[in-house]
């Protein structure tokens, strides 16, 4: 997973951020993940400039049910390929969470996080321990992946790497 300590600025989103807000259906015919970051959050009110202004290492912080709606994996690719090292949310929709894990993309469930950060706050995330720190306020909270199998898939870098590593072993 590369460096396990992440430092960046927080981009704070609300509850029920659906897949059209993350990556609009207008761009679904795009199949190359590298082309997807330019459309991230284009439809999110007040965050239309996300794709232009986001810097490598910035972190997405959200409320409950992040990624609800469609199964489109673009909603994971557009952040992963855009240099967002992790998404932290109070909770995730099931399919979004699974898509992230399957792509080896760190997403941490972090209860209480949306009230601890404002846009632009400096944030530090330790992916090994799940410790999340607001460097501005000093507040710390804990985030975690859910099951051991999911952690193992993440550790391989994603589902495809995981099944390649396990091919022929059963």
């Amino acid at each position: 997973m590369g460096s396990s300590i992440i430092k960046g600025r927080a981009w704070v989103f609300g509850d029920d951020v659906d897949t059209d807000l993350i990556y609009h259906n207008k761009y679904l015919a795009v199949t190359d993940p590298a082309e997807m970051p330019q459309y991230a959050f284009e439809y999110y009110p007040g965050k239309e400039n996300f794709a232009r202004e986001v810097q490598n290492g910035d972190v997405v912080v959200a409320g409950t049910n992040f990624g609800c709606g469609s199964s489109r994996e673009h909603a994971v690719y557009c952040l992963k390929e855009g240099g967002i090292p992790v998404v932290l949310a109070e909770s995730f929709s099931r399919i979004y969470y699974r898509n992230a894990v399957n792509n080896g993309y760190p997403v941490l469930v972090a209860p209480g996080i949306s009230s601890k950060f404002k846009d632009g706050d400096e944030i530090e995330v330790n992916l090994d321990t799940g410790e999340i720190t607001n460097l501005k306020s000093g507040e710390k909270i804990h985030g975690d992946a859910v099951t051991d199998l999911e952690k193992e898939i993440m550790a391989h870098g994603g589902l495809l790497q995981y099944i390649k590593a396990h091919a022929g072993k059963e």
Binding site: D18, N25, A29, G69, S71, R98, N102
Partner: protein, 419 residues
């Protein structure tokens, strides 16, 4: 302690007794993909496996943008046809008169069967629970991996029991019930759960109505949604079943549920989900009079014959006040509606028809909204920009409410139009 539906189906699929919370690996009975079979086939190639694990288990149905509205869509369709040929995939529904919206085709052609484990690279795959299947949506990477290995892992979900009794009042249907349930429990109210529908009212409901309920399962966050596989299901699948692996499986009486809800249909009235979330519920009485620019009747949620008939009942002998787009969910439905005279009633009322497919539901074509416009739709999502423009507004409602609104050019209560 008894077992839930999910525990029993996943237990059967693994050959072991399982309980909620356990991780299991199973071989799915069918894997459905639509137009996104194109990017999935690219991911599949990257795995380095030449052939899918079992080509008879894959079902491809083109529906999202058919016939292709842009060269990019056309290219994706071409990639799929080449993959189908290369892999010898027999269950392929191209742009032909045996097709339609993928979930409708999966159900009407006999793929959705009791006790099967089914996955689809589309979130509304949960619809097949109307036939007693355990079915859920997955992403592209996961689908590619499943094609390669024939295996998929699940956490055995906790379950929610929704018991429904009573009978619908005039002008009220399954869509009104599920919109109300979503309003009550919110869009993450069933996160990760298996939602079971129980009760006399479910037994009384048509399979089409049950499909509407299960279709919206994902909009509450559910992993799957399911109704009991009763005689209606068994009669329907007779001579149609595309697999002999099915088995009637249902929850034990004393199963353990994370949550239990009860509804009496006597208390359900026509309702809408207001922009821009599915759980933004209002009774229609609170929003009637809201001006609309377009009405849309169709989709995997409400594009079935009974839905078109419900709309026709409202529109018969009258004239719509705004453009009204009707898209039957499959060609089979289209033909039945033609032979029953339903299409004529809709055309006489001023509606326009498009070919079966997803149409404007996710903003691909055939009914995109202009900035500032409002559409009332029978679909399942009203997210900001869902129908193509982020400055537009979508209300979700039943076919009767959409039809009544189309007549008036504003959101209307179907009970005031139906006589």
């Amino acid at each position: 302690m008894g077992k839930t539906f999910a525990e029993k189906v996943l237990g059967k699929a693994t050959g072991n007794e399982v309980s909620a919370g356990q991780i299991v690996t199973v071989e799915p009975h069918f894997c459905m993909s639509h137009d996104n079979a194109a990017p999935i086939s690219k991911i599949f190639r990257d795995i380095g496996v030449n052939k899918v694990w079992d080509s008879s288990k894959l079902v491809f149905i083109l529906d999202h943008a058919i016939p292709a509205p842009t060269d990019k869509h056309a290219q994706n369709h071409k990639v799929i046809r080449e993959f189908v040929k290369d892999q010898g995939i027999e269950h392929f529904y191209d742009i032909m008169s045996n097709g339609g919206v993928c979930h409708q085709v999966m159900c009407e052609k006999g793929y959705a069967l009791p006790g099967l484990v089914m996955v689809g690279s589309d979130s509304h795959t949960c619809t097949y629970g109307a036939f007693g299947a355990f079915s859920t949506g997955i992403g592209r990477t996961e689908m590619a991996a499943t094609w390669a290995t024939g295996k998929i892992w699940f956490k055995v979900p906790d379950s929610m029991k929704i018991s429904v009794n009573g009978t619908f009042s005039r002008g009220v249907s399954a869509k009104d019930l599920i919109l109300r349930i979503m309003g009550d429990i919110q869009s993450d109210g069933a996160d990760y759960m298996s939602v079971e529908f129980h009760g006399k009212a479910i037994a009384d409901m048509s399979l089409g109505s049950r499909m509407t309920l299960c279709n919206l399962g994902i909009e509450m966050g559910a992993k799957n949604a399911v109704c009991p596989p009763d005689d209606k299901v068994l009669n329907f699948i007779k001579d149609k079943a595309k697999s002999d692996k099915w088995e009637s499986i249902w929850a034990d009486e004393d199963a353990c549920y994370e949550k239990a809800l009860e509804y009496d249909l006597a208390n359900i009235e026509p309702g809408v989900a207001k922009p821009h979330t599915v759980d933004n519920y209002s009774p229609v009485t609170e929003v009637k009079g809201t001006s609309i620019d377009q009405a849309f009747i169709g989709t995997c949620t409400n594009g079935r014959l009974q839905d078109l008939e419900e709309a026709a009942k409202v529109l018969s002998g009258k004239r719509v006040a705004v453009r009204t787009i009707v898209i039957p969910a499959s060609w089979e439905i289209y033909r039945k509606a033609m032979s029953k005279g339903v299409i004529d009633i809709l055309l006489d009322a001023g509606c326009v028809l498009a070919n079966p497919g997803c149409g404007p539901c996710m903003g691909n074509h055939e009914g995109i909204l202009a900035p500032g416009e409002t559409c009332i739709s029978t679909a399942n999502r009203n997210f900001k920009g869902r129908m193509g423009n982020k400055e537009s507004f979508i209300y979700l409602a039943s076919p009767a409410t959409v039809a009544a609104s189309a007549l008036k050019g504003e959101i209307a209560d179907p009970r005031e139009v139906l006589v």
